[in-house]
Amino acid sequence: TQLLEQSPQFLSIQEGENLTVYCNSSSVFSSLQWYRQEPGEGPVLLVTVVTGGEVKKLKRLTFQFGDARKDSSLHITAAQPGDTGLYLCAGSPFGNEKLTFGTGTRLTIIP
């Protein structure tokens, strides 16, 4: 089992629709990061959430950190083809400095 499980693993939707992807764990994290990776490139950080219950917005993307700091979600409103990519959550459990990546969600937005 992976420390950070993401769902769904694959998601393909039409342009203009809304979607939510999830990052879940049984461990408590001091913070969680979300990255987006496009083909042929390395992941790029989108946001870091630090406080339980925290909500951060980045244009059409809304990130939430669970109250218990064990999970996070990413909601995209009115998805655009440019949102296509692999979305990865990453975190370090309390007492462990090693940053672990989630299993990833491959998102495809169809024009």
Partner: protein, 112 residues
């Protein structure tokens, strides 16, 4: 200027060969990493160095040997390559151990 650059971008080689991948960062970060991304896109840490000192060494075959000549460089040497080593290897750096990671573009290794 590329913040984290790694070379080569593509590497195709035969089983049993030895190869190296180089990485350099110009961000002034103290911590550098090697990650392996498999065909399912799962990103797994291999090694982490802080100021030239090895701090994370995951369960990686000892055919993989990282070397950090200075805090701006972290190279990866792989001996006796096997088919299962085929993957994309990413170098990354961060200001601190659990901070934002800045990744290179990746080096796609194919072992035939």
């Amino acid at each position: 200027d590329t913040a984290v650059s790694q070379t080569p971008k593509y590497l195709v080689t035969q089983m049993g060969n030895d190869k190296s991948i180089k990485c350099e960062q110009n961000l002034g970060h103290d911590t550098m990493y090697w990650y392996k991304q498999d065909s399912k896109k799962f990103l797994k840490i291999m090694f982490s160095y802080n100021n030239k000192e090895l701090i994370i060494n995951e369960t990686v075959p000892n055919r993989f040997s990282p070397k950090s000549p200075d805090k701006a460089h972290l190279n990866l040497h792989i001996n006796s390559l096997e088919l299962g080593d085929s993957a994309v290897y990413f170098c990354a750096s961060s200001r601190r151990a659990t901070g934002e990671l800045f990744f290179g573009e990746g080096s796609r290794l194919t072992v035939l």
